[in-house]
Symmetry: C2
Subunit: 396 residues, 2 copies
């Protein structure tokens, strides 16, 4: 395996990913935005090209039948969920599903419990879109659910509990036990559940992803968003799917048809092939990312005062930098200046994210190892300066 960074490859990645590299200089690497540095599977490319040549890009008001078929088949095979035509809909990416849930499941004044840290739009959108109140319930130290804290947060006004599993940013993969505990709470208090399962394919150390909706009694009260363009290296395509109770899905279909009629037909064709024919691509990506995860975790844990468990899933490292920085934004700026690497601050991910940074590592080995080396070098320097400062301080 090559260990030197091929800068031509990085230049190519940079050029094709203007949003991930927005505002960055030529010598900087982005491990900020959650966007894959890899390209989409060749089968997907070929299917899109065939559709373009064959004139298969006209209206599909009810969703492309082949896309819905592929999604339903995958839901049964992978998620143990059997869904009917009226319980599924194509969406224009994960954000569209979060928006729909925020709009259709909660009303002004109702309360949503978001288990944090969590993907920022999941925390923010019930408030901005539906004037609901969002209560952040912090995960335990290992980023797993604190069921007692969740139950304590439930009041008469609580309508929904929102999770992201595997978790962005922490990588936590929820176990059958904790999902069962959550299901019990949701059922007993008659709540909706919202589950963002974008990273479902990326679970490490032999863990298996479990869909909340597949637990007894949960299908009729859970809306699950399955977005997958980030996994298949096709982030600019706007396609995914959502599963939920049929009366809810009916309203959501009406909402989307008002806003933009339907997701792009060509993107639905791409999605159908990704779901039906590209398991090999995901397996190979997962094997690569597990190696990357091991490398980053090892290197970060060598830095004095940093102690991080390996992320269980997804493609983020989320170390606690509180021994080194007062504030996560300071850490982001410091790493950008010293290491020339863009990472994300943890505060935006809600309670429990403060003083963490998120390192998005869906990149080729050479790029991610160079970036890790640069980040760790900068953090070592920071740790040394703190130690020497403490040593030279009269109070130390």
């Amino acid at each position: 395996m090559k260990t030197d960074l091929d800068h031509r490859e990085l230049d190519e990645i940079r050029k094709k990913r203007p949003s991930k590299y927005r505002g960055l200089n030529q010598d900087e690497i982005s491990l900020g935005l959650a966007e894959s540095d890899f390209e989409m599977p060749v089968e997907v490319k070929q299917a899109m090209i065939d559709a373009i040549m064959n004139g298969e890009y006209h209206y599909q008001f009810d969703g492309l039948p082949g896309f819905l078929e592929a999604a339903k088949e995958k839901l049964w095979r992978f998620n143990n969920l059997r869904v009917g035509e009226d319980e599924i809909m194509p969406i224009a990416g994960g954000m569209n599903g979060i928006w729909l849930a925020s709009r259709c499941l909660v009303r002004p004044g109702e309360k949503v419990i978001a288990i944090t840290p969590n993907y920022p739009p999941i925390i923010e959108m019930p408030r901005t879109v539906s004037q609901a109140e969002v209560v952040e319930t912090m995960a335990r130290g290992n980023f797993h659910m604190d069921l007692e804290a969740i139950e304590a947060a439930i009041t008469e006004r609580t309508r929904m509990i929102s999770i992201c599993n595997p978790n962005n940013p922490s990588g936590a993969v929820y176990s059958r036990e904790e999902l069962g505990g959550l299901a019990e709470l949701a059922t007993r208090h008659d709540l909706y559940a919202f589950s963002d399962e974008l990273y479902e394919n990326l679970t490490y150390d032999g863990r298996r992803h479990l869909s909340l909706a597949s637990l007894p009694g949960m299908k009729e009260r859970t809306v699950t968003v399955f977005a997958f363009t980030k996994i298949y290296g096709m982030s600019g395509l706007r396609i995914g799917y959502l599963v939920g109770p049929k009366e809810i899905v009916k309203g959501m279909k009406e909402e989307n048809s008002r806003v933009f009629i339907q997701p792009s037909t060509i993107d639905q064709i791409a999605g159908s092939v990704a779901l039906a024919k590209c398991d090999y691509y995901v397996e190979s990506l997962k094997a690569h990312l597990e190696k990357v995860r091991n490398h980053i975790t090892g290197k970060l844990n060598e830095v004095p005062m940093i102690n991080m468990s390996p992320p269980e899933g997804a493609f983020f490292a989320f170390p606690d930098l509180s021994p080194l920085f007062q504030d996560d934004e300071n850490a982001v700026v410091y790493i950008r200046q010293k290491a020339k690497i863009q990472v994300s601050g943890g505060k935006g991910f809600g309670k429990g994210g403060e003083r963490h940074i998120r390192i998005s590592f869906c990149s080729p080995w050479e790029i991610v190892t160079e970036a890790t080396a640069r980040i760790c070098r900068a953090l070592w320097a920071r740790a040394s300066s703190i130690t020497s400062h403490e040593e030279s301080s009269p109070k130390a």
Copy 2:
């Protein structure tokens, strides 16, 4: 030119357009949904394929620069509008623009004046999306604006006037004089204007399309939606652009980013080439559609009791069938049964649309001439039965 319908061609069109042909039998032709039967330009296909091969399908949060450039250049060249980066945004098709305008320009309780007949979502969405009140102001007999009626409808609560130009369903292409009159009203009463100019390229008899926003004083109060996928035979792609005052466009960009981040990158690539390189396609389409228009108008006017001016633009014939039918839905059902042709009822297009039907004629010559012949044969039969009924009626 062939005059016999090539049924293999019709079968192909039917197969590729599931929404246009939804629920129709094998022997039926759809002139219902406003969807082109033609395929997209080869330059667009090639650009999409190149982008797929080259990995140019990742996030473009701020819009694909090439798309925005092509749109701005076309706005200057064709619409006499010079706009800055902050006055334009990509949208996921025309519906998305109508939704944004309904959401961002009016508030609950405010009034919108829609000049009718008009595209149904333009009439309905201010109410469904923003709980605004919509006042339908009927065009004069020739489908042109009744400025006195518009002024009479303006009250303290009026916030916006909405037009579709060239008009769907009537084909009316508004003149400089009437647009000037509307601009004067909007300025004097300090109103927003909403202008849907989807069919801007399709104006007949040498007419030139004039953008409302290009009139003095209008750019700062007009939101214009330019959707074009219907024109370029690529309806399932979700791309278009919107132009408006910068503070309004800023809010609209935030709305869209919450709902689905951005229109598909691949669709933006398609759009950039359609706008920059395919004027020849539009010219050729327009020449074809003008011939079709002449044919349909001539044939319909031969039917007893039908009297229709040739549509000035767009691709719809909108005859008044009130001498033949009590209700437009009766007419639609009758034509479906007798002629095996799907057309649309006029009532949904608002005041002035009742007892009309809309015939969407963006189809090959053979298909549209056969469909016209079938429609006219059915209408002749209807007219004859009414005449003979009147003759045999004691009161006649």
